[in-house]
């Protein structure tokens, strides 16, 4: 803290000195401001904290930090420059610098640092044990804390509480000490520090005035630790958490040019982005599966009884080309078009003996074409738009290896996967704006979007949107806008017949397995009565419902009016109502948002805003939870 003060004072002295020396130069203009303050916060190190963006110290107990906000602008004949520094604490500060040299080189640099406190679950709710834990048998759902508590209460060693499930076969020793793991995890601070450096430069060569060249970079790092929760199944489920190191780095470079040739404007940009996670993946011991005859059986698990990595953040790289062109034929008529191509790649590794991939690199490609026309006929302006884009996501297969120790999975099983992002999308839109009076316009609009997903299960969605709005200025101090929008959505994104867990969708999977193979009439009790309520004749049918939180019809109306009696005073009243429904899944959502806002600026330095908003939202939807029959 002491060093921080010294640095700040030194910087302040230099800047004041610079300002003084520059002020004596005739014709040049220097403007600046310095604001110094103090901020403080009492931080309570509760693992379940909700204050995500703490700007002061990450230490416990009350702490005080100096705050500094300074900015200087310099305007010379040929050169202008500006610098802004906003310092709140060592964990939160911003800096920006810009320079313009004879309009030939225009440069900007922005740097930002912030802290983000991540979720920290205590897993206290995960105590679903249903057995005689105190007797030392295997609980059904456990956490490290439950294990640790049992060890403490019974005085038994961890190996006895956890049984052979927790024995690491490689070392024949206890895989880990639950109490130690719990203590370590609960004491972790899950904080990620994000730093971002952005820079952009434009180069305009006077002898080539039609073209301006652009280049930019963005480097973002995220360092720290977040909570990683893993789940393994043996007799039941063992849920435990540990700290996962974060060391992410994103490097993004752009370059391009803008050309203006009379009525034509052409813009091209190439972007390449490389994302890497440089920290090691966390690993955990996946407890040994119970032998066949217990639930779940060995045969139902892909792996167990060993340490495996989990919570992996995959590296990826993206490249994109974008070209846009616009032609202005008059002040009211212009045509523009664009083409975008991008690809995202991510390398994968499989786990021999558990699963193999037929593609070691997964790639997703995007190609988009869009065109727009703006024109006017008399008092009516038109905006007409159309576009088509295609996403070609990865298609690949995963082969799950046979399990050596069971009798039911004696063959390798291969499953085909197709990314749900693969699609072909067509968009069309037209808007007409009619000027009813000098300060009053009526807008009517229509949009259509068709999404054809390659993954047949998610279907094709067609959306028709109608819009109407009137905006008016009654006089110089009173204005208002009212609008209405209706959407008709045919087959919104939905999981068809998908409420059943791993039951298989009869429309898309083998009809000889899963629900499709069931015939409730076949199931009878010992007296030949098939009218009794059984899991398979009362629950299974409900497990084939469609499920979604997406509406197939939307109505939304907005009203807003602003009264501004003076240039430094305004009052706004607004209300928004929205109704969504989807009868197919019994979904309904009502939203009402009224609000009021008062703004008053008695001086240039003082702005006062008082606002109130009431947000009411009520959602109903169908949900399916099977009941347990024994």
């Amino acid at each position: 803290m002491k060093q921080r003060y010294c640095l700040l004072l030194a910087l302040l002295s230099i800047l004041i000195f610079m300002m003084t020396t520059t002020l004596v130069c005739a014709e040049d203009i220097v403007k600046g401001h310095v604001e110094v303050g103090i901020s403080g916060m009492d931080v309570d190190d509760n693992p379940a904290r909700v204050n995500e963006y703490v700007e002061t110290s990450d230490e416990d107990n009350p702490n005080v930090n100096p705050a500094l906000d300074l900015g200087f602008d310099y305007y010379g004949d040929d050169v202008s420059a500006d610098i802004d520094i906003d310092y709140k604490s060592s964990n939160s500060h911003d800096m920006s610098f810009g320079a313009d040299i004879k309009r030939v080189i225009r440069f900007r640099l922005d740097y930002q640092k912030m802290q983000h406190w991540k979720d920290h679950e205590t897993l206290d709710q995960m105590g679903a044990t249903a057995r005689d834990d105190l007797g030392g048998s295997q609980p059904n759902v456990t956490t490290d804390k439950i294990y640790a508590d049992l060890i403490g209460k019974t005085g038994n060693p961890a190996a006895k509480i956890g049984g052979t499930n927790l024995i690491d076969p490689a070392t024949n020793a206890l895989a880990y000490d639950p109490e130690e793991a719990w203590e370590q995890e609960i004491n972790n601070d899950y904080i990620v520090t994000r730093e971002e450096l952005k820079s952009a430069v434009d180069l305009a060569i006077p002898d080539l005035p039609n073209i301006v060249f652009h280049a930019g970079l963005r480097i973002e790092t995220r360092e720290g630790m977040e909570q990683a929760i893993g789940l393994s199944k043996c007799g039941g489920c063992h849920v435990s958490a540990s700290g996962k190191d974060i060391d992410e780095r994103t490097e993004e470079y752009t370059m391009g040019a803008t050309g203006k040739f009379g009525m034509f404007t052409v813009d091209y940009e190439y972007m390449t982005r490389d994302f890497t996670e440089q920290a090691n993946n966390p690993s955990r011991f996946y407890v040994k599966a119970a032998p066949d005859g217990s639930m779940p059986k060995v045969s139902s698990l892909l792996y167990s009884g060993d340490k495996f990595e989990y919570a992996k953040t995959p590296d990826s790289e993206k490249d994109s080309h974008r070209i846009k062109a616009r032609a202005d034929f008059s002040s009211q008529t212009s045509v523009s078009g664009s083409y975008v191509h991008s690809s995202v790649k991510s390398s994968k590794t499989d786990e021999p003996g558990i699963f193999e991939l037929d593609h070691k690199t997964l790639e997703s490609k995007y190609d988009g074409y869009h065109a727009k026309l703006a024109t006017a006929f008399g008092e009516v302006r038109f905006s007409i738009r159309g576009g088509y884009y295609e996403i070609d996501g990865p298609d690949y297969s995963v082969t799950y290896d046979k399990r050596a120790t069971n009798s039911s999975h004696t063959m390798d099983t291969t499953q085909e996967y197709e990314s749900a992002e693969s699609r072909k999308v067509t968009e069309v839109g037209i808007d007409a704006i009619y000027r009813l009076a000098r300060a009053t316009t009526l807008r009517l609009g229509y949009e259509f979007e068709e999404v054809k997903r390659d993954e047949e299960e998610f279907g094709e969605t067609k959306t028709h949107t109608l819009k109407a709005a009137i905006k008016t200025r009654f006089n110089k101090s009173l204005s208002g806008r009212v609008s209405y929008e209706y959407q008709n959505i045919d087959d919104p994104f939905v999981a068809h017949n998908a409420t059943g867990i791993a039951q298989g969708n009869p429309d898309y999977y083998d009809s000889n397995s899963g629900l499709a193979a069931l015939d409730a009439a076949q199931f009878q009790n010992s007296n030949g009565n098939n009218q009794w309520v059984y899991y398979w004749n009362s629950v299974y049918p409900s497990r084939g419902f469609d499920a979604t939180n997406q509406p197939d019809a939307v109505h939304e109306a907005k009203l807003s009016t602003t009264w501004a009696p003076r240039a430094n005073m305004a009052a706004t009243l607004y209300v928004r109502g929205r109704y969504e429904e989807n009868d197919d899944v019994h979904y309904e959502q009502k939203t009402i948002v009224p609000g009021a806002s008062l703004w008053f600026a008695p001086t240039d330095k003082l702005n006062l805003t008082a606002s109130y908003m009431y947000n009411y939202q009520d959602t109903e939807n169908r949900a399916c939870v099977g009941w347990y029959h024994g």
Partner: protein, 329 residues
């Protein structure tokens, strides 16, 4: 190779390209100015900036801090430079001793008239789609957000800083930015303009997911084991403007998840376990102690799905059960 000549006709076009570029380069700003006619002042002619400053000398200092006052000659491509570039030819205004009916005053013009003045130059980058933007279609004028003659000009000559300027109309978004879960806008680490292009749509030329992934790149994938709604549209689960639920989810877990997924049957199961009666299976067994109470299963499975299905955005590792796609590892 991005572009490839594949035939005779294409080859000729490629050869003609330099000639076309030269011809296009000759079409300078002067020609553009004649083509893109802005609101007319009948009979007026240009008088030059020095004439304007004879009366409006108070504008001189402000304008030296304004990018419009610092433009280089070569940037104008031969078009008119100075006050009359935006306010139109000023001879009648001068002759009329400042008659305001004979000069263009953007604050008094309609939105499309103001747009016509600005689009003499501003047709590139994020401004290319202005005519089709929600703001333009809502009859907003350039001068609703920008001011050219501010005493202390802000970046992009805005009337107020982002987000205050945006919040002056979008009050609901201001309220949502103060919801318990929000992007760090009120903390000053983000601005509306980081995601939105006020002169167009979103700050992406691809779909919405691409915008989100430019910062949340860790979820870019493609993953071996994906989650369909994540790949379809981030806003199926998230409200980026802020929400009451954690992680900007539309609703709290498990209700959000249960709208598409069946809940585990354990959610309805009580934890009052009895050991089976060895001699008569239909007879009650022995009640066994459960230190976590009878609601243990309901709490475990009905509190938060992502406790176990932690990697809900996708994973490169299979889950332990045979299907592999449970997003638990």
């Amino acid at each position: 190779m991005l572009f490839k000549s594949t035939g005779t006709k294409t080859g000729r076009l490629v050869k003609l390209l330099p000639l076309l570029l030269i011809l296009a380069a000759c079409a300078t700003g002067a020609i553009r100015e004649k083509l893109l006619i802005m609101p007319q002042i009948e009979g007026a002619t240009y008088v030059g900036q020095d004439t304007c400053l004879e009366c409006h000398d108070d504008m001189a200092e402000n304008f030296s801090m304004n990018v419009h006052g610092r433009l280089a000659d070569f940037e104008m491509l031969g078009a008119e430079k100075g006050c009359e570039s935006c306010h139109g030819p000023g001879s009648l205004h001068v002759d009329g001793e400042g008659d305001t009916d004979h000069i263009l005053r953007p604050a008094e013009l309609t939105s499309e008239e103001v747009g016509a003045i600005c689009s003499k130059c501003h047709t590139d980058g994020k401004l290319m789609d202005w005519t089709h933007s929600e703001h333009a279609l809502a009859d907003l004028s350039c001068t609703d957000c920008h001011t050219m003659h501010a005493e202390k000009p802000l970046k992009a000559l805005l009337k107020q800083e982002d987000p205050e300027l945006c919040f002056s109309c979008h009050q609901e978004m201001q309220a949502k930015s103060n919801f318990p879960s929000h992007h760090p806008i009120k903390e000053g680490k983000m601005k509306c303009g980081d995601c939105h292009n006020p002169h167009g749509e979103l700050n992406t030329h691809e779909r919405t997911n691409d915008l989100c992934l430019s910062c949340h790149t860790r979820y870019q994938g493609p993953f071996v084991f994906g989650h369909a709604p994540v790949e379809d549209d981030c806003t199926i689960c998230h409200d980026p403007h802020g929400s009451v639920a954690n992680n900007m989810l539309l609703q709290n877990e498990p209700f959000l998840c249960l709208q598409c997924h069946e809940g585990h049957f354990h959610m309805l199961r009580e934890s009052n376990y009895q050991s089976p009666n060895a001699t008569n299976p239909r007879a009650p067994g022995t009640e066994l102690a459960n230190p976590n109470g009878h609601e243990g299963f309901q709490m475990s499975f009905g509190t938060k799905c992502t406790t176990c299905h932690k990697v809900v955005h996708g994973s490169d590792f299979p889950s332990q059960p045979l299907s592999g796609g449970g997003l638990t590892r």
